[in-house]
């Protein structure tokens, strides 16, 4: 038998609509409501400013370690915005902008960074999972939820986020494979932000794109300019439509950049050049989108200024509200809660013994 080429069964594409110089490919431009465009812009801007405020508060010792979102706002908002309220969003640990879009109160996010478990609570009406810190581990949960949707014959879809580093984990492989084998309604959104802490994208995988990995699992893959909100939106919309139509999963690789630190515990100066950061600052998703909205006469410079002021005040309000809540949340006995549906006797005993100790210590101290 002669040698012949295999057809992989799906294509891998690259999509860019609004390039870094602000040039629009109008043939590919999606039709999006003005109101939705402005809401997406506001969420991106809010997330950026909140990120900056968090960094400041962290440096002042007022909150703990967190993973900044700066630079990745378009990849998150452009994808999350496609979801319906009934759909599910399964984040990793940097999806601050997506969480805000989905309705997570910023006070909760701030409480989380300040070290309070209460901040991890998901509002009852929201179909989102809490932050998952172990890299790629959340992807298999997303597949399980998607299996449940299929089993119950519902119209929902699941969208899950992860980074370039996550594609090296076993859970990524298991999730992609199982999602395809069971043909589940799920969209995998990889935010390839070029750096997994200190390891660059090219040391993470030899494949030319991360999107092409989809082919090995029997699903379509698409690489988009992740700093181009329009491209992210269009690719996600197609993937969500496929999933909802029962046609299975899609992998989207958003090529983006982490403009800030991995977390507040590291120093990027040790592993990447200032020149590289400068290059990506020119590709910043927010000014690019503002320019687009300006050209459409939807957003003026004055309006941006007004919005900036409004956001600044809102963030101050979030801080004050969080401070108030923190004052109420001092009770260490809370740590015994939510381990089980009902507290088992041995845990009650540990809790009571600790309460007794605290009481005695306080009496001794006061006495």
């Amino acid at each position: 038998m002669p040698r012949k080429k295999f057809e992989p069964g799906h294509d891998v594409e690259h999509l860019s609509i609004l390039d870094e110089k602000g040039k629009l490919d109008s043939r590919l431009e999606p039709e999006i409501d003005d109101e939705l465009l402005l809401k997406m812009h506001r969420t991106m801007l809010f997330s950026r400013r909140f990120d900056e405020a968090l960094l400041k508060w962290q440096r002042q010792g007022r909150i703990g370690t967190f993973a900044p979102v700066s630079g990745q706002e378009a990849a998150q908002v452009g994808s999350a915005a496609v979801l319906e309220e009934e759909d599910w969003m399964v984040p990793a640990f940097r999806e601050f902008a997506a969480a805000v879009w989905r309705g997570t109160p910023p006070v909760g996010l701030l409480l989380y960074t300040a070290g309070y478990n209460e901040g991890g609570a998901i509002p009852e009406e929201q179909h989102d999972l809490p932050i998952a810190i172990p890299v790629a581990s959340q992807l298999v949960h997303a597949v399980g939820i998607a299996y449940g949707i299929k089993y119950r014959e519902r119209e929902q879809v699941v969208l899950t986020y992860f980074g370039d580093g996550a594609t090296s984990e076993g859970d990524f492989h298991e999730a992609m494979n199982m999602a395809a084998v069971f043909s589940t309604p799920i969209v995998f959104v990889c935010q390839n932000n070029q750096w997994a802490i200190s390891v660059p994208r090219e040391k993470q995988a030899r494949s030319r794109t991360l999107a092409q990995r989809a082919l090995a699992y029997g699903m379509p893959g698409i690489q988009v300019d992740g700093n181009d909100l329009l491209a992210v939106y269009v690719a996600t919309q197609e993937a969500v439509e496929r999933a909802r139509a029962g046609k299975g999963p899609t992998l989207i690789e958003c090529v983006t950049y982490r403009l800030s630190v991995h977390t507040t515990a590291d120093d990027p100066g040790k592993y990447r050049s200032e020149k590289e950061v400068k290059k990506w600052e020119k590709r910043d998703p927010i000014p690019r989108f503002q320019n687009y909205l300006g050209n459409k006469n939807l957003l003026s410079k004055d309006e941006i200024e007004k919005l900036e002021k409004e956001i600044k005040e809102e963030i101050q309000g979030v801080w004050h509200e969080t401070e108030k809540q923190m004052e109420r949340l001092g009770d260490p006995m809370d740590m015994f809660e939510y381990i089980f549906h009902e507290m088992p006797p041995y845990l009650e005993e540990q809790r009571d013994a600790y309460a007794e100790f605290l009481k005695e210590r306080k009496e001794n101290h006061d006495g």
Partner: protein, 326 residues
Amino acid sequence: MADLTMVEAINLALRQEMENDDRVLVLGEDVGVDGGVFRVTDGLIDEFGEERSIDTPVAEAGIVGMSIGMAIYGLRPVCEMQFSGFSYFAFHQVEGHAARMRWRSRGRYGIPMVIRMPYGGGVHALEHHSESREVIYAHTPGLKMVIPSGPRSARALLVSAIRDPDPVIFFESKLMYRSLREEVPDDEETLPIGESRVVREGSDLTMISYGAMLHRTLEAAEKLSEDDGVEPEVVDLLTISPLDDRKFTDSVRKTGRVVVVHEAPRSFGPAGEIMARINERSFYYLEAPVERVTGFDVHVPYFAREQAYLPDVDRIVYGARKALNA
């Protein structure tokens, strides 16, 4: 009533729970068409279809992780690790998420799931097929760890585990899968998780065990009764965590002498925790140091020597006599 092996009894529990509740489904490697490598899930696919009796790819983390997602969505997955020796592939999902999701989400997402897995030695298996690592799970906050000791308790505890609002690790002794039969009622029967029971009454010595080793412990108790004229009381733990210390506390306060038996390695094993509880609750009732008869702190030898690793009746009697004669 039917005279069932443990394999058949577990199958009955799964079948009845799947009939009663369409949220219940089973998933794992070879659990569908093949009915599981031990035939525990035999026939479920014929009755409930491949959507509820799911043959998965070979991916333990994926199986447990998907089950977590299913539980979050409102289903009640019962997943199978083909052997407990392969469950470590999934341990980060168990520790990192199944055990933590209720806590992390402040009660929004409980994880009502069961992870079944065969454990233990004595069946001439290959490497990685004979271990008894219940403490790994028992040591993890947020998990329940159950080890039935026979067909009837396996059926009743599995039904409870499936209905439990929290994740339950369910160890099934391979040695007991087909080695004994018990009468199992046709109608529903449950046993509470977190409750041990006295399976032999006596007043001279307290013997504490569970799972496959319970039977060797009971044999040893009979031997002590016949040969030494002492009447040991035997406690079957059934649940390792949350550990029920009430039954053995009562017993120890009565007998003052204790031997704990398990096939898990000795150091940091379940006996260590049991001895700590005895120390906390019954120290002044003790007549002798507490003895433990356990596996050694080695890997289970290949099967030519595995019986030397496992506690047997003679070793248990030897340990018991030390406690009796001290």
